[in-house]
């Protein structure tokens, strides 16, 4: 369910090369086995790999490299990229602010209906993002459940603003963070928290000084997943935030609209988004996810 969490078990016993000691020893001993993988596993595995790698490769193969500098400096391209990076980062911060406490609540406290709440939290994962956008309009729209009140009370209307982009992205991305963090919390050693409590630390101090550092890698992994999901968000954004260059037109929206009139431009935008997100994820992985 949460590969990013599983790839960072208790972060403590991962040496610098990113492979648990026992696993690397096993790999050294069994190198020959890799070539004796049963065909019935090897064949679908290679097919699966090709299926995942081929489309991005095609994007790179079809990129009009000669036009790249001119295309990238075309009006609106850098605006869309900047807007995407800013909104995805803000959405991730919002998710951290709300999602970490939520994950703690779901894995450290007992209350009636906890399983139901846990299931509800994952609803945005299975909801088509466009449906999410419609739902957000019904809550935060001018005639929405909260939107009408926000408008009357504070003169605040969210749809079609950059804030709406952040909200749409946070809505679809937060479950990734919550699942990641609550997985890490459940795997973490409760003994240390109990020890802190025995030594007189309150629940907030325990959370801040013991729990949070303990699940740090899980939080980081969740934040990275969350950011990547937010960066790619399309359906909820175009439904709830609309499409206006510089204000709500993020890269995925720009790619979609470019595809309708100028496929070459769409390819260039896609490659740019691919390059930026892969670079940032690689840097974050170096920094947080593999070091002890």
């Amino acid at each position: 369910m949460t590969p990013a969490v599983e790839s960072n078990p208790a972060a403590g016993d991962i040496p610098a090369d990113g492979m648990p000691a026992a696993a690397s020893a096993a790999a050294g001993r069994d190198t020959g086995d890799a070539f004796r993988a049963p065909l019935v596993l090897l064949l679908p595995a290679l097919l699966g790999l090709a299926f995942l790698v081929l489309p991005p490769a095609a994007l790179l193969l079809r990129t009009p490299w000669a036009q790249l500098p001119r295309r990238l400096t075309a009006p609106g391209v850098l605006d869309a990229l900047w807007l995407s990076l800013v909104t995805a980062t803000l959405a991730t911060l919002l998710c951290l602010l709300l999602g970490v406490p939520l994950a703690w609540l779901l894995s450290r406290t007992r209350f009636p209906g906890r399983r139901l709440v846990r299931a509800l939290v994952t609803v945005p994962l299975v909801l088509p993002p466009v449906v999410g956008g419609v739902a957000l309009l019904l809550v935060f729209g001018r005639h929405g459940l909260l939107g009408g009140w926000l408008d009357a009370r504070f003169g605040l209307t969210l749809p079609f603003t950059t804030s709406a982009v952040v909200l749409a992205e946070a809505f679809v991305a937060m479950p990734f963070l919550v699942i990641s963090v609550s997985g890490a919390l459940r795997a973490a050693d409760r003994g240390l928290e109990e020890a802190a409590a025995t030594l007189g630390a309150g629940r907030w101090t325990t959370f801040r000084r013991v729990t949070l550092p303990l699940v740090g890698p899980g939080v980081a992994a969740g934040a990275v997943l969350c950011w990547a999901r937010a960066l790619g968000e399309f359906g909820a954004t175009i439904t709830f935030a609309g499409n206006f260059p510089g204000r709500t037109q993020t890269m995925p929206l720009a790619v979609y609209l470019a595809m309708e009139t100028d496929p070459q431009a769409a390819i260039v935008l896609s490659v740019l988004l691919l390059a930026v997100s892969v670079t940032i994820l690689a840097v974050l992985r170096e920094k947080w996810m593999t070091s002890p």
């Binding site: 019935v40 729209g141 609309g242 309708e260 009139t261």
Partner: protein
Amino acid sequence: MSRRPVAAVLAGCLLLAIAACGADRRDPATAGTVTVLAAVSLTEVFTALGEGFEQSHPGRRVRLSFAGSAQLAGQIAAGAPADVFAAAGPESMQRVAGGRDAVVFARNQLVIAVPPGNPRGLRTLADLAVPDLKVAICAAQVPCGIAAEKALASAGVDLTPVTLDQNVRAALTKVRLGEVDAALVYRTDVRVAAGEVEAVEFAESAAAGNDYPIVVLPGAADPAAAAEFVAYVRSGAGREQLREAGFQLP
């Protein structure tokens, strides 16, 4: 040992199933079926025309798909299997192979769509430029956006909409939901949402009308059936339905 064949058979079945639903082969079973890609503003009238065509042409079937004209043109260029393309403007039609042979079968005009009772009292295009008014128009890539730009330019109105929609119905929906105060949509769209929105006609709309072209695509599976559908749209019965829907006729 006995599990391997089972797994292999399962995998084979899965691949076959994917291939079967993925590949739209032009087999004899689809002969007589006309696949029509049409602009989203034609949704209701073409659905009715499709039914009328099937009734008056026994053995013929019509499959309809609606989206923004620019999106459909992109799909056709990318090889989407289709027999007839009806666009909301000449720009999208020019992007498909064979688009030069298209004939104009209808004309449409922009109006200002407002909530019932026109609460903001909008009368002209210039009224839309009020700073706190939320307006949705179509993106410049799609026909209704091109028409809106022409109308605004000829009226000398500098408008900052809150959103540029990818098709005219997306703009209309925002008025229906009350999320915007006004949208520039086709007169025919307002008729579809009668009761939920009202139309405000404006002087410059005549200068910014759209011609709707239709064509039998070069890759049509059954060109004869496709041509029959196009002829039906342009026939007396077809024209009557288009007129009732609020289109002007060439």
